[in-house]
């Protein structure tokens, strides 16, 4: 029961945080000189990337830990991290073009950072798909952990290859360091949004982890019930003969 109270309290706090962060991003943060209103999407865009990379890193650590220890809890954490990461990544991939269209004049550019995150998203969607298509729980955990490790190893290679490649061509848009010269209020609002974003991420991550744990326990119980009922049937038939 104590954990239930904790969860309700956590949810209420995070909900309050995210609402206040939304309010602050829309009404408290000062207007940006050149980009105006559209710049406000940045307060959600940046946290979505930070949470996305954190969640994927958690998934990678969990994958490695599962391979070395073989404890199911690491598999639960792995799937939770991957799923939450894909959700955050999707938010980032949607808010990015929404901002880029009015500011850069294009929805999308095949720049190193954008391409890398897109490939990252594809890789982790493939990871989730793979989990859905593998039947046996233990095999699913091991094989998807191996794929997860390969996928994470690929990310720096994707980034490096795109950096090397694109620098040989003129870039359509050049990132001007976004953090340089942020007004103090903007910084505070951004900090609030980052904290709120991480709050949501951690909350969802814990819930997803619990869900996977419950699924695992449910499967174990079902196996036990099945084996017991077949035992009982065997005994009954034996008694009859």
């Amino acid at each position: 029961m104590r954990s239930m109270t904790g969860r309700i309290a956590g949810t209420v706090i995070v909900a309050a945080l995210i609402f206040y962060a939304g309010y602050a991003a829309l009404f408290i943060a000062p207007d940006e000189k050149t980009m105006h209103e559209i710049q406000r999407i940045f307060y959600f865009h940046l946290p979505s990337w930070m949470t996305c990379f954190t969640a994927f890193s958690i998934a990678f650590i969990a994958n490695v830990a599962y391979i070395t220890t073989r404890q199911p809890k690491w598999d639960w954490l792995g799937v939770a991290g991957a799923e939450v990461g894909v959700a955050c990544c999707t938010i980032g991939l949607i808010t990015g073009p929404l901002w880029a269209r009015p500011v850069w004049g294009i929805w999308w550019t095949w720049d190193a950072r954008l391409t890398t995150t897109f490939i990252l998203w594809l890789l982790y969607v493939a990871y989730l798909l793979l989990r859905g298509l593998l039947e046996e729980p233990e095999r699913k955990a091991t094989l998807s952990a191996i794929f997860g490790i390969f996928a994470f190893l690929d990310v720096p290679l994707v980034y490096m290859s795109n950096r090397l490649w694109r620098t040989q061509h003129p870039q359509p848009v050049i990132f001007g360091g976004e953090n340089s010269g942020l007004a103090p209020t903007m910084k505070l609002v951004l900090l609030l949004c980052v904290i709120a974003g991480f709050g949501v991420m951690i909350l969802v991550l814990i819930d997803r982890y619990r869900l996977e744990q419950l699924r695992f326990e449910f499967e174990e119980l079902r196996h036990e019930v099945e084996s017991r009922s077949s035992d009982a049937q065997f005994m009954r038939e034996k008694g009859r003969s």
Binding site: A126, L130, L134, F147, F150, A151, L157, V158, N162
Partner: protein, 224 residues
């Protein structure tokens, strides 16, 4: 039995199995040819443009063909549960994996030996003078494709819809390999060909990273 010898024996078995029917090889070559021909409809290959798109097209054809060809590598073992027999044999799991990798490398290379000259003829690209450098790029690129592809073939063999799953797992991972292989090949097909050392080093790095990862993880991979 040491790993090298066990891998060599497994390699002979894979080769014997394939050369009895040659099904896999002929299907791979034909599939890649279909891709090359279809591309010529999608982009009108005039002379100057073929130099620009050619290397990309060639590697896309190899990657697609490879992602289909690597499918039976482990799936074939499931029909008669022969993978269990292999696991029970007193050989290391890296021997099993590397035997399959070598066999797949040979199949893919044989397909490329047929495909590259055909590509050169169809797209009016001159390969004279760059042959050895091109072979280096092809070997490094094909190794990367085969290393990751064989591991993923072992993963997808246990899944439902495995024929569809393998390309989904493999092609995104190969994105950096595609960039590097295409750029390295393109640098050889320009007016004054020169081997781009950066991309060759990148390809070698890709191979080393994933070969090391497969070596570290192969016990868990084959055991499941």
């Amino acid at each position: 039995m040491n790993t090298a010898r066990a891998a060599a024996i497994l390699l002979t078995k894979e080769l014997r199995l394939e050369f009895r029917t040659r099904e896999l090889l002929s299907a791979t070559v034909i599939f890649a040819l279909v891709v090359v021909v279809l591309f010529s409809f999608a982009f009108d290959p005039t002379n100057a443009e073929s130099r620009r798109y050619g290397p990309g097209l060639l590697w896309i054809a190899f990657l697609f063909a490879g992602s289909l060809m690597l499918n039976p590598s482990f799936a074939r073992e499931q029909a008669n549960d022969t993978l269990d027999a292999l696991r029970m044999a007193p050989v290391s799991s890296f021997a099993i994996l590397s035997g399959k990798m070598l066999a797949n490398f040979i199949f893919m290379s044989l397909a490329e030996v047929v495909l590259v000259p055909v590509f050169a003829v169809l797209y009016n690209v001159s390969l004279a003078g760059v042959a050895w450098r091109l072979i280096l790029v092809l070997v490094l690129g094909t190794s990367g494709l085969v290393i990751t592809g064989t591991v993923f073939s072992a993963i997808s063999a246990h899944a439902r819809m495995r024929e569809l799953l393998l390309p989904l797992l493999l092609l995104p991972i190969l994105a950096p390999l595609l960039i590097a292989a295409v750029e390295a090949t393109a640098s050889l097909l320009t007016q004054d060909p020169a081997l781009d050392r950066t991309w060759v080093a990148f390809l070698a790095g890709f191979d080393i990273v994933f070969l090391t990862a497969s070596w570290l993880l192969c016990d868990y991979l084959v055991e499941e």
